[in-house]
Amino acid sequence: MNKKLLVFSFALFSLSTTFTSCSSDDSIVNNQNQESILTVNLHGKEIKSIHEMDIRFLETNTGKETQLKMQSLSQEFKLPKGSYKIIADGKVILGGGEEMQAGANSSIDLINDTHNISIELFVKSFNEDFIIEEVFFTGVTTLEGKAYVSSKYFKLTNNTDKVLSTGGLLICQSEFITTNNNHVTPEIKESDFTVKAILMIPHENAKNIEPGDFIVIADMAANHKQPNIPAYDLSGADYEYPNLDNPKLGDVDNPSVPNAKVIYSTLNYNMFLMHNRGAESYALARFPQEITIQSWLAGYTYTYEYTNATGNVTTKTAKTIPNAWIIDGINSSPIEGWEHNALGTSIDNGWTGVGVLSSDPNRFGKSARRKVIGTMENGRNLYKDTNNSTEDFHRDAEPSLKNGINHS
């Protein structure tokens, strides 16, 4: 994709220079060299074309501002000579066809008759809160061929341009699995998300996260790498959720990493276990101001039922999170076996996941990772979020924490 874009930009660039040289010939006759011809070339990761773009040229000596519009990524402007600050702001079309806000800053001294400037456009985020950047739910297999269940994690990223607090974040796991659609009644997924378990980052252990930075919530914040286990070093995770309550699990607790709290689980002993084929959905939510854990527990139940092929009716009562509280969510499923999405279309209109076969032996050591759409102004990755995880995520990706946790 990048290569294509490069070729395309190069073609545009060469086209515009040819055009510029033609017009230069014309201007010799008309201009008295008080003005300079500036060719602005906008470029940016994944940016294909411009939808609409305002470009302002601020002459720093006179304070005079010229506001113009750009129609293409490369355009020529006739400006009086001087020192300019250039600010571009508008909408661009990305390689995948999405329309995004983008902007750029630059400056130039126009002293010659012609100038070229190449300005990098930054796509502006449209998120308000954290997004799920990656879910690693498969675990790894040891060299002996056994499944290693731990070293799973959620990676959440601040995809906004402001500092966010992690306090009160809820990581919700769907009650329904995506590889089996029982056609439950009533169907409420367009308004509420039916949950199996919820992890909460306690307010007392809140952290402030810079734009573009991420947090890792690991099952156990430990170095899982062993000579025979190709798992990852998660000892630098931000939060962990070891299970100390189940007498049979014997999980361990890293004292330097605060624990996320399981505020709800359909299992005993506060167990929060990810489906190792990833046939479920995850959502990131926050309680509204007026809702506490207790008030949520008191309400928000949902009784559903379904009938199987032989006529047996199953009735169950579950807990829900209104879709309005959800700040991000993804549906996940192996390719074969997908039957439905557990999250409503307004949250995620697609589905991602790991593996082809429904119980794919090759799924281990792979994760679902969000695509990078551009770079933020601070140099960090900006992630794609079109509320369609089919488009926004890479399936079967290499886990980003394979070589440990690195925030740089």
Binding site: T141, T142, E144, G145, K146, A147, Y148, V149, S150, S151, D219, M220, A222, N223, H224, Q226, N228, I229, S235, P242, L244, D245, P247, K248, L249, G250, D251, V252, D253, N254, P255, S256, P258, K261, V262, I263, Y264, S265, T266, L267, N268, Y269, N270, M271, I293, Q294, L297, A298, T301, E305, T307, A309, T310, G311, N312, V313, T314, T315, K316, T317
Partner: protein, 972 residues
């Protein structure tokens, strides 16, 4: 041409040798003749019918003698052709022909023919065959002639080939399965015979799982109702096969093998569910009696049924059998030797090799059974002492490992090796005069099991893990084991079972009543000397940390003493046959600590059976014979050793887990609770049987119909309730830059309480069986050579809990498990009623010596219902253990609301299955002399009619494919 020279040469050589031999033999024969004449005349009538070596020699000699004589005098040629009722040639019929001057023998050949050269005159001819009624004729020899003689089979059961079970007509309702039926059925193990009981259906053999016995019931998927199968006693030649001290349990019974993640150890666990029928081979069995009704008081420590297995005894040819089908191969070789007329030795070896799937070489089952049985009769005046001594050796080996080419966990295996050595000595003294005592019988059996389960498991902890290995209750420091290691476990069981029974039968008359008294003493002793469950505590075979080794040796012996006396009164009044049996069995468990309720309890089992044989009523040409039998019996099954002495349960709670990034600072602290789950109130399970049976026979047509009601309200059950366990959760988050391991003494903590389940054996499972068993047996219609048999049963079986159940919602809220337990009236119960049928058409083609049978069997209808399960509990308790009624307002409590179980509209709705049918085909044919070939195809055709449930029409099809196999049997 090249070969002609040697060929000619060989022929010449052959002729010269033959000539030489002929001349030599003539001289030899002459010599024998004269020596033979010196021998005293043998009284052949008294001669023992079985052919000892001596007998054979004599036969040979007399034959030779006869030949010689025939050459010397002019004589007539008499040929006998022996046939049976179906005009089939009868080989091996011995013919004795005699008059005042000669006494000759011959045996018929394969064509049923034997030839004699006789002088003109009058002779007596006797025909003798072990399976046929002998015949005596007078013969006047005048000319050469061929005489056809038809012999009839010995008795009614052998009168025709019966390939189904027959219904016993005694006091106890029972099915009798004979050798022929087994040959035709082609079983791999005893489990296959159960098809022949009323209500039984053919099942594809499942030899890689334990096969539990079901009598008069459908069975459930729940393991809470196993007392029914545990309460079926198997007695083989007087030896009880059930064991109450067999407690072999895999250390890690959740071990999974292979890609299918089959829990091998768990599925092979056979404790508390009775005899595993796949371990009993059938080749040595002569007949089986399955007593479905009320056994006499001579048998006890059983609730549901009694299976008496009688093995072959006496002289037989070498017998071989090779069987193969989709899942197994089996081989058998056996012979009965007659050392002398009073002493027989039977010996056999049987091997079976089965796989769970023909393509799966990695999960298999081997069975080897070898036996030597001796029967010696001593004559003591006119009385007899019969001493039967059996030595049996049995290995059952289950192996599971992973296919190294395709599987994961290449290291893992599971081996279940069960060997049994058994020695029985049964002495029976029979009084043949009109003594009061008919016999005295002492049955003794000692059986030693050598049982091991070996597991090798590559343990992969879920992640960094801690364990506690303490064996004492209280606060303790745990360990961080390696994350991956190989764990070896062994469970060693050495159960020894000793059964002795001394009994006598008496007979005397009072007025017109004949008394038949049985009385005796029965003692069962069982102890397990095994070292039990063994492993390295630091390398436990499971990622669940609450395992500890356990020894079986320390478990006290199980001892059960019983006395019994019963009387069968017989009288005939005006053509009414009246039989009344009344008996009482008194038993007690011995050697138990006084704290056990069982130690003070004496169990009394009265049993009463009345049979009324109505006078025959002549209808048309034949008489209708009717018998009515009514019975009442109480039966008890004592708990097994593992129920009385269950393993302790360890509960380890993490109080502090400090897994610092610096390994030197890591520390874990536990609070360990040890739960003793012994239920000292456990009592024997009691089954009350009531039944009435009608037997009719008319012109060789037989019918029976039995109504029964069996109620066992206190079957064994794993009863679960919840206990609070408190511990502290220390908070080490305030330690900054530690230089040493933390100590719990200085840390702040939070008190936590967890309700944990505790499961113990209790008398809380009810099994109530009712039903009607029926059967019709036609004679073999001579025109078609075909016999029709219809058997079936309607069963109504309710499996329900008879004590309330405790359930804790599986849910956690706000960082804790739901701290409430509900008490509910009903668990998932199973109420089943249905009618199974089995219609067998079997044709015997004498000209081909072939049996063909087709069985049409299936379910006529079946209703399945759950016990009415209510969603809400009646009561509940929290961590304080205070039981409180559950109120409607509790439904809105964020925590207590989960006590309301999910019960759907259809959960308590009954399901009605319609008719289905499976057609099975079986063929047995003699193909060459003593070689028989058999073939079977089960489920050749299947049909399952659709049924409607909750408005849905459900179409069914059988999941399993046709199942077929074949076998060859030899007699040589």
């Amino acid at each position: 041409m090249l070969y002609s020279f040697p060929n000619t040469y060989l022929i010449i050589l052959y002729i010269s040798i033959s000539k030489a031999l002929y001349i030599t033999s003539l001289n030899y024969i002459r010599l024998i003749k004269y020596s033979f004449l010196l021998l005293p005349r043998i009284n052949l009538n008294k001669m023992y019918p079985q052919r000892s070596t001596k007998f054979l020699l004599q036969l040979l000699f007399s034959f030779l003698f006869f030949q010689l004589q025939a050459q010397e005098k002019e004589s007539m040629k008499i040929q006998f052709h022996l046939v049976d009722d179906f005009k089939k040639d009868l080989p091996n019929v011995s013919i004795q022909i005699s008059n005042d001057s000669i006494n000759n023998f011959n045996l018929t050949n394969e064509q049923g023919k034997a030839t004699f050269q006789l002088n003109k005159g009058h002779y007596q001819v006797q025909f003798f065959h072990v399976a046929y009624t002998g015949k005596k004729i007078q013969l006047e020899v005048i000319i050469n002639q061929e005489i056809e003689i038809a012999l009839q089979q010995e008795n009614n059961t052998l009168e025709e080939v019966i390939i189904t079970a027959t219904e016993g007509k005694d006091l106890s309702t029972k099915s009798i399965i004979n050798r022929k039926a087994m040959e035709h059925l082609q079983p791999s193990s005893f489990a296959d015979l159960m098809e022949l009981l009323p209500g039984g259906l053919a099942k594809s053999p499942n030899l890689t799982n334990p096969n539990k016995v079901l009598i008069r019931e459908f069975g459930t998927e729940s393991n809470q109702y196993n007392t029914s199968s545990m309460g079926v006693q198997f007695v083989m030649d007087g030896q009880i096969l059930n064991s109450d001290v067999d407690m072999l349990t895999a250390v890690n019974n959740t071990q999974t093998i292979g890609n299918g993640n089959i829990r091998v150890a768990q599925k092979l666990e056979n404790n508390n569910q009775g005899v595993d029928m796949r371990t009993i081979p059938t080749n040595d069995i002569e007949s089986v009696e399955v007593i479905r009704g009320i056994p006499t008081v001579s048998y006890g420590d059983l609730t549901s049924g009694l299976i008496l297995i009688h093995r072959k005894s006496g002289q037989t040819n070498w017998q071989g059998r090779i069987k193969t089908d989709g899942f197994s191969k089996s081989y058998y070789l056996g012979k009965g030797f007659s050392i002398n007329p009073t002493w027989d030795i039977n010996t056999s070896i049987d091997y079976l090799n089965a796989q769970s799937d023909p393509r799966d070489l990695y999960e298999n089952y081997h069975r080897v059974a070898a036996s030597i049985r001796s029967k010696k009769t001593y004559n003591h005046g006119i009385n007899k002492l019969i001493w039967k001594s059996n030595l049996d050796y049995n290995i059952n080996l289950d192996n599971s490992k992973v296919d190294p080419d395709s599987g994961y966990d290449k290291t893992d295996y599971f081996k279940n090796n069960r060997q049994k050595i058994s020695l029985s000595n049964n002495l029976e003294y029979i009084f043949t005069d009109n003594n009061l005592f008919k016999n005295i019988k002492l049955t003794t059996n000692i059986r030693q099991g050598i049982e091991n389960i070996d597991q090798r498991i590559f343990v992969q902890h879920n992640g960094p893990t801690s364990v506690s290995i303490t064996t004492e209750e209280g606060v303790n420091d745990g360990y961080f084991p390696e994350i991956s290691f190989l764990s070896y476990t062994r469970t060693e069981g050495r159960p020894i079972d000793i059964n002795t029974k001394l009994e006598t039968n008496l007979q005397f008359n009072t007025h017109f009543i004949q008394h038949n008294i049985e009385a005796g003493l029965d003692f069962k002793y069982g102890h397990n000397y095994g070292r039990g469950e063994m492993f390295d505590p630091l390398k436990p075979p499971s990622t669940s940390s609450s395992l500890r080794p356990r020894s079986y040796k320390d478990i006290p012996a199980n001892q059960n003493l019983a006395l019994f006396v019963g009387d069968k009164l017989q009288a005939k009044i005006n053509n009414h046959d009246l039989n009344l049996y009344g008996g009482m069995r008194v038993s007690k468990m011995l050697g138990l600590e006084e704290s056990y309720a069982l130690s003070k309890k004496v169990f009394v089992e009265p049993r009463l059976i009345f049979q009324w044989g109505l006078p025959e009523i002549t209808i048309g040409k034949h008489a209708l014979k009717t018998d009515i039998t009514m019975g009442y019996g109480e039966l008890f099954k004592q708990p097994t050793a593992i129920m009385l002495y269950p393993d302790k349960i360890y509960k380890d709670f993490i109080q502090l887990s400090y897994y610092h990034n610096n390994p030197d600072l890591r520390y874990v602290n536990y609070m360990t609770y040890i739960d003793d789950v012994t239920n000292k109130d456990l009592l024997a399970a009691k089954n009350i049987k009531k039944e009435i049976r009608f037997d009719f026979s008319y012109a060789k047509h037989e019918w029976f119909i039995t109504y029964f009601d069996e109620n066992m309200a206190n079957g064994f059950r794993n009863d679960t309730y919840f206990l609070s366990h408190s511990y502290r959760r220390y908070d080490a988050s305030n330690i900054i830059d530690p230089t040493e391991k933390p100590s719990i003494d200085n840390l702040p903590y939070e008190e936590r309480t967890e309700l944990l389940s505790r499961s113990q054996h209790a008398n809380g499972s009810g099994t109530h069986k009712k039903g009607i068993e029926f059967g019709y047996y036609s004679p073999r219609f001579s025109t078609l050579n075909t016999k029709f048999t219809l058997t079936g049963a309607w069963f109504k079986v309710d499996y329900t809990n008879t004590i309330p159940v405790h359930e804790k919602p599986n849910r956690s809220q706000n960082g804790q498990s739901i701290p409430y337990v509900g008490i509910y009236k009903n668990d998932v119960g199973y109420l089943q009623s249905g009618l199974n049928y089995n219609f067998i058409v079997d044709t015997y083609l004498p000209s081909l010596d072939m049996n063909i049978s087709t069985s049409f069997q299936g379910v006529l209808f079946k209703d399945e219902e759950r016990a009415n399960r209510e969603a809400a509990p009646t009561h509940y308790y929290g961590t304080d253990g205070m039981i409180q009624p559950f109120l409607d307002s509790d439904r809105n409590d964020p925590y207590k609301r989960w006590l309301v179980r999910d019960v759907s509209a259809t959960d308590n709705m009954s399901k009605h299955y319609n008719f289905d049918m499976r057609v099975n085909l079986k063929i047995t044919k003699r193909i060459y002399r003593e070689v028989r070939a058999s073939l079977f195809v089960d489920k050749l055709v299947t049909y399952y009619s659709p049924y409607t449930f909750n408005g849905n029409k459900v179409y069914r099809k059988d999941q399993s494919d046709p199942y077929f196999g074949m076998e060859l049997t030899y007699n040589f």
